[in-house]
């Protein structure tokens, strides 16, 4: 969190576990981070890293066999974990909204787009039917859908993927949430549409002074959008810090690996680096550092001790015994 800004969401030592037949999975294991007001936080990690589970944990929507076992989720000063399901239903959609990955399935195919946007207002506002309709049209126009008054009566299948994602964003934004959790919002879209949607989301968030958690596996997306970055590996935070700092000077070998696998537009590049191996089985994590089997710098100590978070100056920390110090070329 940048200095001087109030915090909106503070997650402390969050632990979400799944009690499956094959064993207990620590999907989120002691994660702490803070989202400031008006700030965009990027949550980065590979598939199966526990990114989406964090989003659902915040909203209290973890289904059995999963369970939020420990930690505090302070939203606007109160702990969401202490709230009843009824109270949470009032917060969901109104104060915290979510944008999903696949716009092809995140809209109900049997309801018109208008009904689905309107549903949010009916739940979370006292406006009458005419005012709600005006508000829907305004919102749709705002997310870049032309002839919004006619499009309200269309069904989702009459929209393209990018347009649907605009509708999903409109649904998320219409009740004026303080926090938007965007779970891989552009992964299912064409590359050409991706940056349009990202720009739209950033503008929407900035204009309303809302905050956003952007969950993605794509560091390129995050570097375009986020103020702060949190890198997750096997349900744990391996590194966090302000965007510029973290991207130019990654301290964890995993972050460096992720950055090395993004192609550059300018300059010569011999070959993209890749991180060898795959994410270890979360039911059966190795002793010591989770990343050591894939780490080019691993040493004997890494197999013995699990690294603690160490501070690297203002707002930055890393969980590594041997943090990197070299600066990447821009």
């Amino acid at each position: 969190m940048s200095a001087g800004k109030q915090s909106l969401l503070e997650v402390r030592d969050l632990k979400t576990r799944f009690y499956t037949f094959a064993g207990v999975v620590n999907a989120v294991d002691g994660v702490s981070f803070t989202v400031g007001r008006g700030e965009i936080l990027g949550l980065v990690g590979e598939s199966g890293g526990g990114k989406s589970v964090i989003g659902f944990s915040i909203l209290g929507l973890i289904d059995p066999p999963g369970k939020v076992d420990d930690g505090e989720i302070l939203f606007d000063g109160t702990d969401l974990r202490r709230k009843s399901e009824k109270e949470l239903q009032k917060i969901r959609g109104k104060d915290i909204a979510m944008v999903f990955q696949d716009p092809m399935t995140s809209l109900n195919p049997l309801q018109t787009v208008g009904e689905q946007i309107d549903e949010m207002l009916r739940l979370h506002s006292d406006l009458d039917a005419r005012a709600r309709r005006a508000r829907c049209i305004e919102m749709l126009t705002d997310v870049g859908i032309s002839e919004a008054d006619k499009r309200l009566n269309n069904y989702p299948h009459q929209f393209s993927g990018g347009m649907r994602q605009r509708v999903v964003i409109a649904i998320a934004m219409i009740a004026g949430p303080l926090l938007i959790i965007a779970d891989e919002p552009t992964t299912a879209l064409d590359v050409t549409i991706q940056s349009q949607i990202l720009k739209l989301m950033r503008r929407q968030v900035r204009e309303r002074d809302a905050s956003m958690i952007l969950i993605t596996h794509d560091l390129a997306v995050v570097s375009q959008m986020a103020d702060e970055i949190v890198v997750l590996y096997c349900g744990k935070i391996v590194e966090k810090g302000p965007k510029q700092d973290l991207i130019s000077k990654p301290a964890h070998p995993y972050t460096q690996g992720l950055l090395g696998s993004i192609p550059k537009l300018h300059g010569r590049q011999e070959r993209l680096t890749q991180i060898p191996g795959t994410v270890p089985d979360v039911r059966n994590l190795p002793k010591g550092c989770n990343f050591r089997e894939r780490c080019p710098f691993a040493q004997a100590r890494c197999a013995e001790e699990e690294p603690e978070q160490i501070s690297l100056g203002a707002d930055r920390s890393v969980a590594c015994h041997f943090p990197l110090e070299q600066e990447l070329e821009p």
Binding site: L61, G93, F100, T105, S106, L107, Q111, E119, M120, H124
Partner: protein, 290 residues
């Protein structure tokens, strides 16, 4: 209406002989069920209007036939055509009502099982499994002999037999629907479970039910006919098609074949029509066959 005439559904309908024959048969029965009392001269349930002298008249085109009784008469002098029309009303009414009850109960249980899973799901589905391991006519027979006979009892027995197929179908579709992000999105939007189930899940699992419901009316007509034939169905004062067959069967070997053959033929045509149309619906509404 204009939209319907131009729809793909109607286009395919016009090209499907089985659909046209099936719906034509259904239409004939629908008309007789709705307007039957005005279409036939006699009310066979009104004993005062019966002429005992006219008993066991053969169909009109046979020797000794009476032009007033097209399909002949039974032992009480009832016009067979009128009996069939009144019987079909009872059969169809029982079939449709029992279908609606089964559909309502089965869909509700299937939604609950699929949405909440866990113990509720296991319980409902085990009951369904046990039920499916018995032939449905056997279950109905057990129930009827336990609770007695009568139209309401027949409805209970048929519903007890029929809900399973809806519950299983709806549960399966629900399981696949709730994985989709729009259901997640509805939860994230702060909708209570009840509204998510009724507004988002239910409309998306209904399509396969239309086919099941159509075919089931035919199945229920048959089961009810079997029960009545075995003597545990509707009371003698409200004879369904099945009971007419049974009544005629008693005198079948005396050569008075028309008293059971024509009601039997009516059952056959009714169920045949429903099944033909059901098959067409199944092909039309199945996205995988498109």
């Amino acid at each position: 209406m204009q939209g319907f005439l131009k729809s793909e559904f109607f286009f395919n309908y016009r090209r499907s002989a089985s659909a046209i024959i099936g719906s034509a048969l259904m239409l004939v029965f629908a008309v007789y069920v709705a307007f039957g009392p005005w279409l036939v001269a006699q009310n066979p349930h009104d004993i005062a209007s019966l002429e005992l002298l006219d008993s066991f008249k053969p169909p009109a085109w046979l020797e000794g036939g009476d032009p007033r009784y097209l399909l002949g008469t039974d032992g009480q002098g009832r016009d067979m055509l009128a009996s069939i029309v009144y019987g079909a009303r009872i059969s169809v009414m029982i079939g449709v009502t029992a279908m609606l009850c089964s559909c309502l109960i089965g869909t509700l249980l299937g939604l609950l099982a699929g949405f909440y899973r866990g113990v509720i799901d296991s319980f409902i589905m085990r009951v369904a499994d046990i039920q499916l391991s018995f032939p449905s006519i056997l279950i109905a027979l057990f129930l009827m002999s336990a609770v007695g006979t009568g139209i309401d009892k027949v409805l209970i027995a048929l519903t007890a037999v029929g809900w399973v197929v809806y519950a299983r179908t709806v549960r399966g579709s629900t399981l696949s629907e709730i994985e989709k992000e729009y259901v997640q999105a509805a939860r994230v939007a702060g909708l209570p479970d009840r509204k998510i189930i009724l507004k988002h899940v239910l409309p998306n699992v209904l399509t396969p039910l239309i086919v099941i419901a159509t075919i089931q009316v035919g199945t229920f007509v048959l089961i009810e006919a079997s029960l009545s034939f075995l003597g545990v169905g509707v009371p003698i004062t409200q004879p369904s098609l099945g009971l007419l067959v049974k009544n005629g069967f008693d005198v079948l070997f005396s050569g008075l074949w028309w008293t059971s053959a024509f009601p039997g033929l009516a059952i056959m045509m009714l169920v045949f029509g429903i099944n033909l149309f059901g098959d067409f619906l199944r092909d039309e509404l199945n996205p995988r066959l498109k």
